[in-house]
Symmetry: C2
Subunit: 403 residues, 2 copies
Amino acid sequence: MKTFTRYESVDEVLRWLDRQVSALPPETVAVSEACGRVLAETVQSPIDVPPFDRAAIDGYAVRGFETIGAGAYSPVMLKLHDTAVALQPGTAARVVAGAPLPDGADTIVPFPLAEEAGGFVNIAAAVAPGEHIVRRGKDIACGSPLLPEGRLLRAQDLALLAACGLDRIIVVRRPRIRLVTTGDDLAVPEQPRSAHQHFEAGSSMLKALVARDGGEVAAWMHVTDDAIGEALRTDEIDAVLIAGSSGEGWNDRAAEALETAGELAWHGIALEPGRSTGIGRIGSTLVFLLPGEPVASFCAYDLFAGRAIRRMGGRSTAWPYPARRVVLTKKISSELGSTDYCRVRLTPNGAEPVAVGGNTRLSALAAADGFLLVPEDCEGYPPGTEVTVYLYDSLDSEPNHVL
Amino acid sequence: MKTFTRYESVDEVLRWLDRQVSALPPETVAVSEACGRVLAETVQSPIDVPPFDRAAIDGYAVRGFETIGAGAYSPVMLKLHDTAVALQPGTAARVVAGAPLPDGADTIVPFPLAEEAGGFVNIAAAVAPGEHIVRRGKDIACGSPLLPEGRLLRAQDLALLAACGLDRIIVVRRPRIRLVTTGDDLAVPEQPRSAHQHFEAGSSMLKALVARDGGEVAAWMHVTDDAIGEALRTDEIDAVLIAGSSGEGWNDRAAEALETAGELAWHGIALEPGRSTGIGRIGSTLVFLLPGEPVASFCAYDLFAGRAIRRMGGRSTAWPYPARRVVLTKKISSELGSTDYCRVRLTPNGAEPVAVGGNTRLSALAAADGFLLVPEDCEGYPPGTEVTVYLYDSLDSEPNHVL
């Protein structure tokens, strides 16, 4: 049991946290599985792309000077070559877009301008040497850099890598997270609830948040309050998230367990909701004590644990939410001394608060389109203030369905 | 072999496509796996949340009127109850945040305002009845709607559902996609490349795009051009993507294979890059003929196939990219008659083109931060024009790493 005598400022804790965390070591993955991963080193192309002079269109490979003077009423007649190998003078060879230009040829006659007849090709227009040809290495020269270290790989980047013949690349290892939920008053999912219990609601949310931030939940367990110490194993784990048992109650043993196993660096943070958050480490493994209450847990995760997980995975520490400047249509009141995670709803003219301060109603969180942070030295904002709102839906081109 | 005599307008094809596609039937999934899925029906809560009047804080449950007059120098002394069951007059019981309020109690004394001594609790301040209590159903009333049909589920929504005791929910089925790559001139990943071959580069990209849009690639195969017909199986498949063999070359058999197996509704679309795109169906399964060239394939996927996949999965047809209004710092020239998928790079003052029209350089696509569409009746824009750019990175709070 513990009483918070002071609450640490969010900024102070973030500065400490950023000093603790750096990108994990690299690992090799298949390009086909690499979307959303972060390059651990700049990649160079081992080949030219295209790997040879190639036809840009479907048509007939020819020597350009042999088509001089060709017209619709005065076609040039070239002998048809069956195969697209070294082209003899006076001949034309079928080529498809992407195929190597046959030796001897220097241009392509688009096939709508040519007609085959009796082993010959009648060409109805002159084509200049070099036309409709993509030169070897024109897109990518062998040895040139393709994508830089730190790149969060997009779908189209995989095509670029594959086109260069790269099957495997070196990326930052994904953070491995142990997720521990605790609270003797919780019924875990798919188990019956006794009359005095709540349903455990944070684990599915936290797993989804970890995945969003590029981590993976390597282990999940629900333990009783007095078994937290046993759950604090850190073998092959980069961060432990303990949800619950972080507060001032008689059963709150998370801080004590962490102090026994390692170091409790912070406990009690001036964040609403989320005041009972704690952070520490066991060896090189970070440990986050998150409030058991799901809304407070969400805020504490997003402020601290998510940031660390993104950074471990080589990603930006920036919020994983689109930011939008909007005008408040109603005032926000916030208590001095705490960073207030204020949930807001977008309105036709701006944004209005749906939950401020210690409000931990899940229904209000679901009704929010996003949030803003009111700094600890600010008492809030009058209507008409322009603020930065972070939107929960990363794809913001169309609003999500709300009740 | 085929010659395109006209190219259909993108808008016309999109109108047709939207008429063909609706949300797939529902299926039941675990709440823990439901992030990013789309609710197929509005969900109501089967219980009150909280399910009982509960303590909002850690402290001592008391009868509020018994604390009247309490102060630091005149504490009220109540007998300590060992267990949190029906509270007798003149007693106080330890409670932790979240626990049910004992029968008979009507408020909580925060524990910093109370001190235990010799089986008694000295209470140093009066607390009003109802304080620090969360009433049963205060967050969510039994039977009230939680989240609406069509909701793209966020991580925090899973907490809301779990808190209501819901383990499984009904969501729109994920579209199942068959991905077929073709082209005799392609070396598939992890296979050696012969001198006249390119590396197959589209499949990893398309798999990642399908996943982004909420679909799953249920089957992937690479076939020779003359085996496309055999790959056009549609059992338990919602859409087939064929990459390659869609053009005007002698080996281009995708259109013919689709005409044999079903209906080729469109072939040849006024989109640059992506002119050789075709769309049709076999029974109720949509079939997309995508260009083999990866950049053109990317554009055609994003304009047509991705839109259909999102819609089948119950999502919005809107671009899955954040939109931003920016000023062009260089002019864009575009040919009349085609929608031009113009790739742009953000600059400190706006955006500038990196690839327009039929440019299919993968290195240029990788260098782009996003794109804009130049409509078919527009010849482009002068510098200074404000345009809507769609950004490739859905999380746009910090720019991605570029060379």
